[in-house]
Amino acid sequence: MRSEGMGRPLVLLALLCLAAVLASVSVGSSTVSVGSLVSVLTGNGSELERTLILELRLPRTLSALATGGLLAVAGALMQVLLRNPLADPYVLGLSGGAAAGALLAMLAGLASVLVSGAAFAGAMVATLLVFGLAHGRGSWTASRLLLTGVVMAAGWGALITLLLALTPTHKLPGMLYWLMGDIAYAGSPWPALAVLVLALLLVQPLGRSLNVLARGSLQAAALGVNVRPLEWAIYLLASLITATAVTTAGSIGFVGLIVPHMLRFVVGNDQRLLLPASALAGGTLLVLADALARTVIAPEQLPVGVITALIGVPVFLYLLNRRGA
């Protein structure tokens, strides 16, 4: 809650993030030395190194940064919205809608731009469906929203299984990799980064209201928060953020659930600090995970979701234990 001392963790996280980005652009199938990294960044270096760093690794790293940040921020927002620290960006079925859209597009053999578009459309359809259904006739609560979303998510899951079952075998790998989530699909990182920055600017003034909302809708209303409009605004914003992330890199799990949760152990639950911190930490985690996914068995590639879990689980358990002690 206190504004004093809020800057320090953010500066620390930003430095960590920068280090992760630099590490990520230096490693890959071949490691680039610090010297050649500097010469590439200053406009020199060999042509191969320039292509590797500027055209492949940097956009991919920035996409990982944006996607991780988006997912972590969306997770933090969903957790406040549902007053449930176990909520994640996908809990209300948004990734299911996106996956159904993307898989349908892949099944129809559409180009990758259209697959992304279909994923975004699917995510928005899922969002609006839950919005409409949970709205019902007036009375609704966070738990009604959660139940509606969880049931819709189950429905999407069934639809996805159906699509996979109907798909000819040779198209399956592409679909499965999409479902696992993969930064390799990302095109330009700028739309996702722009959405991340805009979202952070939008939620920053709402931070204190979110702190109050985290204590329940009645308490929030009693403290002067317009609960209903705020909740719908968060819901739509979180959905838009998640849809952007999913469109950029498929449904990467774990980041949205664990990063905000983990940060709460460290910096507390003041959303004004937690949200930007989540953006930085989520971005850092995904950048590191992607760097590892590209290098562990290079030149072969691992799905990044495997690595986020491999890094995240022990860190999370360590923090949980330390807090319990």
Binding site: S29, T51, G109, A184, P299, E300
Partner: protein
């Protein structure tokens, strides 16, 4: 002279057929039939094609989904997708031979068929000689060994002549793209890689441990292939995969214009048509060689 040898061969195989019909399958099991199979079910498109090549097309009573070659195969009744078979449909057809594919069909489902007493012959063709042997064995089991032997001889001769033709050709470095998202290729154990070798090419990712490894664009840039080939997917879209490489003009393959789309069906399945695919690919690589 040749006629005599051929006649002898026919006589020999016929005498074996009269005694017992046996063949060793890809799981090293000796499959014996009391008499030539008359009702055959094929559980993968590749198996269907090999059965037709072996002269057993008329004996097929059903096939798995996507069995589309030769065209008569499309009209066969279906018994499910290769990885999700309709066991009831298979049983109700009362087949006397089931031909399965190690890489596609679920073992547990097929074990049930074996347990019910149906003879299951497993295929797993990994190289040209496996394909040839599969056709011979299927001909044997379905009572058309001479027809199968004829097709196999053509196949072997065709391959031998390609081998002769390209033995001395200058090696070209080839990246064979299986898929674009994720970017996938093949290692040296894949039949396509063997075809590339046959044509005097070198698979730049032949050394990787996995059969169908997923690689990064970076790795391709570093390997700097002289040719990029894809068979793509049926129905198009894969021309785009090749065009996408043009954003990396430092690739030798891009500079030389060596981005080639091969006919999708010829290389995709390990059947006798791989000869046709190999002839096509060898020509492609020869064009690439000349463009360098």
């Amino acid at each position: 002279m040749i006629t005599v040898v051929a006649g002898l061969e026919v006589a020999l195989t016929m005498s074996v057929a009269a005694a017992d019909l046996c063949a060793i399958d890809a799981l090293d099991r000796n499959i014996c039939l009391p008499e030539p199979a008359e009702r055959v079910v094929s559980l993968s498109p590749g198996a269907t094609e090999l059965l037709f090549s072996a002269g057993a097309g008329a004996k097929l009573v059903a096939a798995s989904a996507w069995s589309d070659y030769p065209s008569q195969a499309s009209e066969l009744p279906r018994v499910g997708d290769s990885n999700r078979l309709d066991l009831e449909a298979i049983l109700s057809l009362a087949p006397d031979l089931v031909v399965a594919w190690v890489d596609g069909n679920p073992r547990s489902q097929l074990d049930k068929l074996s347990a019910l007493g149906l003879p299951v012959y497993w295929l797993a063709p990994r190289d040209f000689s496996d394909i040839a042997r599969a056709v011979e064995n299927l001909g044997q089991l379905t009572g058309t060994p001479e027809r199968a032997a004829g097709r196999v001889e053509q196949f072997r001769n065709g391959l031998a002549s390609l081998a002769r033709q390209y033995r001395g050709a200058r090696p070209v470095r080839v990246f064979f793209q299986i898929w674009d998202q994720p970017l996938m290729t093949i290692n040296r154990d894949e039949l396509i890689s063997k075809t590339i070798e046959l044509c005097g090419g070198r698979n730049v990712f032949g050394h990787l441990p996995r059969l169908v490894p997923r690689v990064s664009i970076e790795a391709v840039l570093e390997a700097n292939p002289e040719v990029i080939v894809t068979a793509g997917e049926a129905g198009g879209g894969s021309r785009q995969w090749l065009d996408d490489w043009k954003q990396f003009p430092q690739l030798t393959a891009v500079q030389a214009g060596n981005l080639f789309l091969e006919p999708p069906d010829l290389l995709a399945r390990a059947t006798l048509r791989t000869l046709e695919g190999a002839q096509h690919l060898c020509q492609t690589l020869e064009r690439a060689r000349n463009a360098l």
